[in-house]
């Protein structure tokens, strides 16, 4: 039973994510997480002023329920299904992170530098988290999808547009990781 508490292998995880997308298709829906951000905006009633958000958000309620389930799944998996062996990343990566002053995983999902309660005492960290969020929200809506909508749903359906978006994600991800993160830390 140990395998449940360790890192799930990529072939198991990838297969399950593919099946999740297919189940949503079978339910007559589409797999995509970033559209929930639009739905949440629309729920505030902003649609009266900004036409982009003027849609019937109630029709998208199913996706918010998926999100709610995902939050609960994240809670259960993080608190009851993890042992100290998780996030065994490449030792070279750990050494690089140490040079940037970012703590090693040691069984944690996220670095304390960015995601611990103490880190919120630093305005710089709050700024990084918020700006990162703005880029994610703006970029996914502009591109019309994120990892789930483009990389997985789109590419599975041979959408060339999704390939462009995915290449775009990658180029900039590389620039961020290799050139900008070292400047921030």
């Amino acid at each position: 039973m140990d395998f449940i508490f360790q890192t799930w292998p990529w072939y198991v995880s990838g297969f399950l994510i593919g099946m999740i997308m297919l189940s949503l298709i079978y339910f007559g829906k589409a797999f995509g997480m970033s559209s929930n951000l639009s739905t949440l905006c629309s729920m505030t009633g902003i649609g009266k002023r900004v036409s982009f958000f003027d849609f019937d958000w109630k029709a998208k309620r199913w996706n918010l329920i998926v999100v709610l389930g995902a939050m609960f799944g994240g809670f259960v998996a993080t608190h009851f299904m993890n042992d100290s062996s998780i996030v065994a990343i490449n030792p070279k990566t750990i050494a690089q992170l140490a040079q940037l002053g970012i703590d090693a995983p040691n069984g944690k999902l996220l670095p304390d530098v960015l995601f611990s309660i103490e880190s919120l005492q630093s305005p710089k960290i709050i700024f990084i988290l918020t700006i990162g969020g703005v880029l994610i929200g703006f970029g996914t809506r502009y591109a019309g999808g994120c990892t789930s909508g483009h990389a997985i749903s789109g590419l599975s359906n041979f959408q060339i547009k999704s390939l462009k978006a995915v290449i775009g994600f990658f180029i900039r991800g590389l620039i961020m990781t290799h050139f900008i993160l070292p400047l921030l830390f």
Binding site: W8, F15, G139, L181
Partner: protein
């Protein structure tokens, strides 16, 4: 009944993304450093599973749960938007190590600081809604 169905799919999604560590900032960093196959493996296997499933659905003309034909919509038209939007999202992805799904999953798991990422993402979405007509697509 319908609610339960979506709740269950979401629940499994949350567990799989956490247990595969796709929600981990470390895994995203490692991926962009090309220092592990793990994330690439996950994305590739999920696409292969999706391709096979969608081909079966299309060839066998499988009906959905309500008995209606399954129609998989094409993505919106455009070109510039995919490049630029993708590039902007990629910046955020590598910075905070989370795409929209994991933002919610990590919040559920109790990582309080992620709330700032969510606020940011909602504001970013709102900003796109305002600027949409002025942007090249």
């Amino acid at each position: 009944m319908n609610t339960l169905r979506y709740l269950l799919v979401g629940f499994i999604f949350g567990i799989v993304l956490t247990k595969s560590e796709a929600v981990s900032w470390y895994r995203i960093y490692e991926m962009f450093q090309f220092q592990s196959f793990h994330m690439y493996g996950i994305i590739m296997v999920s696409i292969v599973t999706g391709v096979i499933g969608i081909q079966i659905i299309k060839r066998k003309k499988i009906k959905d749960i309500r008995g209606l034909p399954i129609e998989i919509l094409d993505k919106e038209p455009g070109s510039t938007r995919f490049w630029i939007g993708g590039i902007i999202f990629g910046l955020g992805w590598a910075l905070v190590g989370a795409c929209p799904g994991p933002i919610f999953i990590l919040l559920g798991a109790g990582f309080i600081p992620v709330i700032f990422v969510l606020f940011g993402a909602l504001f970013g979405t709102f900003l796109y809604g305002i600027l949409k007509d002025k942007l090249p697509h």
